[in-house]
Symmetry: C2
Subunit: 341 residues, 2 copies
DNA sequence: ATGAAAACTTTACGCGCGTTAAGTTTTAAG
DNA sequence: CTTAAAACTTAACGCGCGTAAAGTTTTCAT
């Protein structure tokens, strides 16, 4: 089989002119069915594909889509990224996946490098508190961007995420309905703005139900939440820092660390009579099903958050990269009852 | 500040001719220090960067490097990918990360798409047993490829991975030294060739030490190892399928499922007297520290596997994409004693 | 059959940069 | 100061494709 060098050559072999072949690759439906058939027939015989560099250099808009998550070693983001990737591919785009690995410099570098990719759009889950707002603002001004998971006020053309109030109200109400009101366990300086919303929601729900909020803040920086939760829980348990037998963790990864600490200390966690503690959490982390005990938690609406994010980005791209007004879409949580509370 | 359109314009503004500027971007050390200074001075004033599409179209070899892992939702691969990414960037390359998500079709599609990126090289951790060997073979013939983690006999210019015998011999010997000989717990049809090597190593070590190997194979397909381990363990425990009080899991993710099953069944795992079972495993998964109990396991030499992989790829690229002979490099495991055995 | 619209072909230019060739300036050694 | 090598400048071509203009063929409703 002859090696095809360029579109010129392929066009000749298929018996169609190059401009028409070019049109075909841009949109197969834009050419007559008979010529389309001839091109696709040749395509099967010769296996040619346009040089993406030449294509991208000349097209005003590439078919690239950037996907940026803050921490890919968290399976939660890996799963979301997977969904986003697949949706982009299905829509005929070329996704590129990036992880900021929890570091501001990396996030900045990624956005910087992304600009020279001239992407049609970007799906960005920012680091949050540790993001460099000015960098992200500048980026969003140049590239059609949809924020997801972590909201930065006013940045990006739209935000899609989860309704943190829905998470916390469901877990808190459940715990109160079935036992003592929970303390709230979180990091002192959370990386993610969702954490702040969850704390506020906790306070609001507790007060509305006539209970005094009790917040436990543990030290620790970065994205090693399990480690932070573990250390923090050991300290709290040693100091007898709990007011009731119920704890609500800000997120599942902290809870995983908390559960490990309880296990080490011989504290049985669960809703059965022989348990000393009930622990619930938020996120429905992929591993929450396999903690000991399995974790009662509020689940993200993965499918809707991811699905709506790509849909919104596609709308944004089709609208020429700008929306009239910035929208924020929040999906409610689904309470997942397991054994820990 | 004026917007720079292309290298021509930037060259004019910096007072240097375009071919020299082009040379500079290819290798800053290839121009005279004085001209280099003038270019970099202009670079600070004007913030210009070459159009990567035009660059890549014209250079014979791009600076792109593909990184392909089989399953990114496994934090093990996320961590490795992170290391590989950073090493590539540090060496002046542009890494692109892809996950096959456990599916052959996706792996094929990724390799297919990777070809049109004309990468300088690719770091590939294949799916293993479920890989389409012919596709990978064809790919490796066209693109300088270093395999890592999962070896496919004869494919790629080199393989870097862990010495599975070292893993299993250390865990088995430790368990025998400190208690009863372990059964080996694994999937019936493992996705990964490492699993087969581990089984063989188990049999060999057991026989050498004068014990009869006992292998427990559980059903389940795909990459949801925790779930498979969990279901399989429940079955084994229900059927009293263990010969001794010791179990060695083929990998940590299976062990995580196993531990969850034990917890549910009220079986205490650990090396203390009040424990009914000892469980060890292999990989030192990022979460192994936070299982209940924490997992005794054999750790990959992450740094060396990842480090040597990129080094080898760089050597390969500098050698023009071919090695005289295919090399296989295996790094030994490090036994990590925790509470489960 | 007729005409206009739609789709095609041919021709040609442009994108931004790599790269080469020929001529000029700078550098550093003698 | 001489001189040759090294580094530069100018000029020009090519990469593979998008795209526009002008002319030709096909299609399809009347």
């Amino acid at each position: 089989m002859t090696k095809i060098k360029n579109m010129e050559e392929f066009a000749a072999l298929s018996g169609i002119s190059r401009p028409t072949v070019s049109k075909y690759f841009h949109d197969p439906d834009s050419v007559r069915p008979t010529t389309r058939a001839r091109i696709e027939e040749a395509l099967e015989r010769f296996d040619y594909r346009p040089n993406i560099y030449a294509v991208n250099q000349n097209r005003k808009l590439t078919k690239n889509i950037g996907i940026v998550v803050p921490y890919l070693a968290d399976p939660f983001f890996a799963e979301i990224a997977r969904y986003l990737e697949q949706s982009c591919i299905a829509a005929g785009y070329r996704p590129s996946l990036f992880s900021s690995h929890g570091e501001q410099k990396l996030e900045n570098d990624i956005l910087d490098g992304l600009q020279s990719l001239k992407p049609a759009g970007v799906l960005l889950a920012p680091l949050g508190r540790t993001s460099d707002q000015s960098v992200i603002e500048r980026f969003c001004a140049n590239v059609p961007t949809v924020l997801f998971d972590s909201n930065l006020e006013g940045l990006g053309a739209a935000f899609i995420g989860s309704d943190n109030f829905s998470f916390v109200s469901q877990t808190v109400e459940y715990m109160i309905r079935t036992g003592e009101p929970p303390s709230f366990f979180e990091m002192r300086t959370p990386a993610n703005p969702n954490a702040n919303k969850r704390r506020k929601a906790y306070i609001e729900v507790m007060e509305r139900l006539g209970f005094e909020p009790h917040i436990i803040r543990v030290d620790g920086k970065g994205w090693a939440f399990e480690e932070i939760g573990h250390k923090g829980a050991l300290k709290v348990l040693a100091e007898n820092g709990l007011r009731t037998n119920s704890v609500l963790c800000s997120n599942d990864r902290l809870a995983i660390g908390f559960l490990a600490a309880c296990y080490e200390q011989g504290i049985r966690v669960g809703r059965r009579d022989d348990c000393a503690l009930r622990l619930a959490s938020n996120d429905d982390h992929p591993f929450a099903k396999f903690t000991c005990p399995s974790l009662t938690t509020a689940a993200h609406d993965y499918d809707n958050v991811a699905g709506r994010s790509v849909e919104t980005l596609f709308e944004l791209i089709e609208s020429g990269g700008k929306f009239e007004t910035r929208s924020e879409t929040l999906f409610p949580a689904r309470l997942v009852l397991r054994d820990s509370a």
